[in-house]
Each structure stands twice: as structure tokens, then as C-alpha cells.
């Protein structure tokens, strides 16, 4: 009941309409199982870590899609470079068609491999060109990912620090109670014998 109350008070992470609430809840539950938060502050940090991890996953997905989306143009540009003759001519339509067919047609894939092989290249050259052409976006994404990862680690460190501070506080309180002279001392009934005058 307490946990539910605390979660209701914490601001919800807004998700994109294409993202799943259940998947986010699963991530938060997994962190809760690992960290076992006590109280609203620890709950807040767990929520923060879950939000950061969710955003990291979103950006990582985005990074992969950006590279994959750049593949066709990368292949086109690579083929253009490799197939341009000395007069500066290349068959633009054929190159475009070949680049498009490479994704679905086995024969086109083989043909592209042959062309690349002539220049001692392989398919990794396509990926390299795709990464190169989207490097400005990838650099920004990487910076954001680095920043998020450092914030995630800091938030985890804060949970540990807060918990250690709370533990220290409780230990000190317990020690003080034990040492305190005013604490009611329970006496054994047998000690309450009338003493001789």
C-alpha cells in the first residue's frame, strides 16, 4: 500500500505513443527487485534510474535505426564512387536499382559483393559509409548517451549514499538509546525482594 502511494505521488514518465507502458513497468519492477527501495526518497531514485535507462534504450534503438536507414544511400554513394569511369560517367539508374535490390535480392547482393571485391572491399565498407554519412547525428546521440549513463551511475551512487547515511543515523540513534541513562531498565522480578532492615 505504501509503495503504491509513493509511486502515485512521483511524476509519471511520459512515453512516446509507440512505447509500451508495460515494458517500462517491467524495467522499473526489475530495478525495485534489485535495489529494494525503502521510503519515498529511495523510491524516487529508483524511478529516476528506470527513466534514465528507458531513455538510454530509446536512444540506442534510435542509433541503430539511423545507421540502418543510411544503408541504401551509403551503398548508392559507394557504388557511384566505385563504378564511375575515367570520363566521370556512371549509370545512375542502374546503381540506384542495384542498391535497392541489395536488400531483398540474393543475386544483387552477390553482384555488389563482386564489385566491392574488385577493390578489395567487403560489406563492412557499406556500414562504414552509413556510419560516416550519419556521423554528425551519431555524435550528438553518443554525447547524450554518455551524459545519461553518467547520470544513471550517479543516481545509483546517491541511493547507496542515502541508504548509508540513513543506516548510520539509525545506528547512532540505537547507540544513544542504549547508552541513555534515562532509559527504563526492566528489573527482574526476583530482584524485588524486601531487604532486611
Amino acid at each position: 500500500m505504501g509503495r503504491r502511494n509513493e509511486l502515485a505521488l512521483l511524476p509519471k514518465l511520459p512515453l512516446l505513443i509507440t512505447e509500451s507502458v508495460d515494458e517500462f513497468d517491467a524495467i522499473r519492477d526489475a530495478f525495485e527487485r534489485e535495489i529494494k527501495p525503502h521510503g519515498i526518497i529511495e523510491q524516487m531514485y529508483v524511478h529516476d534510474v528506470s527513466c534514465i535507462v528507458w531513455e538510454i534504450l530509446r536512444l540506442r534503438r534510435c542509433k541503430v535505426v539511423i545507421i540502418n536507414s543510411a544503408f541504401r544511400k551509403a551503398l548508392q554513394s559507394l557504388l557511384k564512387e566505385l563504378l564511375t569511369d575515367e570520363d566521370g560517367y556512371y549509370a545512375a539508374d542502374e546503381t540506384e536499382a542495384l542498391a535497392l535490390a541489395w536488400f531483398t535480392d540474393h543475386a544483387a547482393k552477390k553482384q555488389v559483393s563482386e564489385i566491392l571485391g574488385r577493390f578489395e572491399l567487403d560489406e563492412s565498407a557499406i556500414e562504414a559509409e552509413a556510419i560516416r554519412s550519419s556521423s554528425a547525428d551519431l555524435e550528438l546521440l553518443d554525447r547524450m548517451l554518455t551524459s545519461l549513463e553518467s547520470r544513471r551511475d550517479k543516481a545509483l551512487g546517491c541511493v547507496a549514499e542515502y541508504r548509508a547515511s540513513l543506516a548510520r543515523q539509525l545506528r547512532e540513534s540505537a547507540d544513544r538509546i542504549i547508552d541513555d541513562n534515562d532509559v527504563l531498565r526492566l528489573e527482574h522480578p526476583s530482584s524485588k525482594r524486601p531487604t532486611a532492615a
Binding site: N5, E6, L9, L10, P11, K12, L13, P14, L15, L16, I17, T18, I40, I41, M44, D48, C51, E55, R58, L59, R61, C62, V65, I66, S69, D137, L140, L141, R143, M144, S147, L148, R151, K154, A155, C158, E161, Y162, S165, L166, R168, Q169, E172, S173, R176
Partner: protein
């Protein structure tokens, strides 16, 4: 370095321009530095203020001590600010996904030249601005990824605000924890 004469001329020129004079002009100029509103205090909206109060009570627990309440308020405020930046990020991505870009569609240079040429010939044409949403991929996850890619510079700027709010929250938690500790030692 500017000479005495240049400095005097600058001062004379500056006196000629003292900003907007009309009420409407002054009101408009007062929003000159307004970019996104993220530096605005969250307590300025009633709904947030109510949520903030409930969160403060929860963080402070049973304590009625003024300093504890004030520090709990700092924690809650930073937490809600963090949430606000996150909401802004998602809203920007959603907007780019729906419309293709954040700014309203503008004319391309070619369209502007055509417009001017037609105007010179005494004709008036109504050019259709480029529809950015038409350049968005139609399927997921490509559409969302493209939307994120298009708003990356804005997201990077928001990241700064997010980090600042998180740092403020962490500091506030430490302060609260210290206060609780000193109260326990009394």
C-alpha cells in the same frame, strides 16, 4: 579600442534608441529572452503547486520542523522540474513525428525566387511550402527514430536542464538527510 569621438557618438546614438515606447511594444519586448519556459519556477502553476505540497508532505514524513519541510520542498521541486524536462523532451519528439519538424513550414529559396519573379511580372502566385511531414518515414521504428534525429539539437539543450535539476535534487536530498541527522542527535 574606440576613440573618444566614437564613444561620444555611440552614446548619442544609444540615446536615440531607448527600446519600445508603446505598452504593446514593451509587453512584447519583455518576452524577448523567453525561449522554452523551463527556467520558470514550477510553483507558478496551480496544479503543480498542489502536487508539490503532497510530495513535500510525503518526503518530510511526520516532521513538522520548518527546516525539514523547507528542504523536503527543495527535493520535491527539483523532482517535479526533472519530470517537466522529460515531458518536454517527449512532446518535442511527438511533434516532430507528427509534423516532420518543429518550426512552421517555410518557403524554399527556389520558391521565394519564383514568387519574386512572378511579382516582378505583375502576377501573384501562392507557393505551397514544403510539407516536412511528407518526408517522414511512414513505419515504426523508423518514424520515431527520424523524429528523434530531427530534434537532436533541442534534446541536447534540454539535457543540460535535466542534469541541472537532477544535481539540485541530489544536493537537496543530502541537505535533508543532514538535517534529519542533526535532529536525531539533539
Amino acid at each position: 579600442m574606440a576613440s573618444e569621438r566614437q564613444i561620444a557618438a555611440n552614446r548619442r546614438n544609444a540615446r536615440k534608441s531607448t527600446g519600445p515606447r508603446s505598452g504593446a511594444g514593451r509587453k512584447r519586448a519583455s518576452h524577448n529572452a523567453f525561449c522554452h519556459g523551463l527556467t520558470l519556477s514550477i510553483t507558478s502553476t496551480a496544479a503543480f503547486a498542489k502536487h508539490l505540497d503532497r510530495l513535500v508532505r510525503k518526503i518530510a514524513g511526520d516532521s513538522e520542523e520548518a527546516i525539514v519541510l523547507e528542504r523536503a520542498r527543495a527535493v520535491a521541486q527539483a523532482e517535479l522540474e526533472l519530470a517537466r524536462v522529460r515531458r518536454t523532451k517527449v512532446a518535442l519528439i511527438e511533434r516532430a513525428s507528427a509534423f516532420g519538424e518543429l518550426d512552421p513550414p517555410r518557403l524554399t529559396v527556389t520558391q521565394m525566387i519564383r514568387l519574386l519573379n512572378a511579382f516582378d511580372r505583375g502576377r501573384l502566385i501562392v507557393p505551397k511550402p514544403l510539407d516536412a511531414s511528407a518526408t517522414m518515414p511512414s513505419q515504426e521504428p523508423h518514424r520515431s527514430a527520424e523524429a528523434v534525429r530531427r530534434v537532436l539539437p533541442e534534446l541536447r539543450k534540454l539535457d543540460r536542464y535535466e542534469r541541472r535539476a537532477a544535481a539540485r535534487r541530489d544536493r537537496a536530498v543530502l541537505n535533508l538527510s543532514d538535517r534529519m541527522k542533526s535532529l536525531n542527535n539533539l
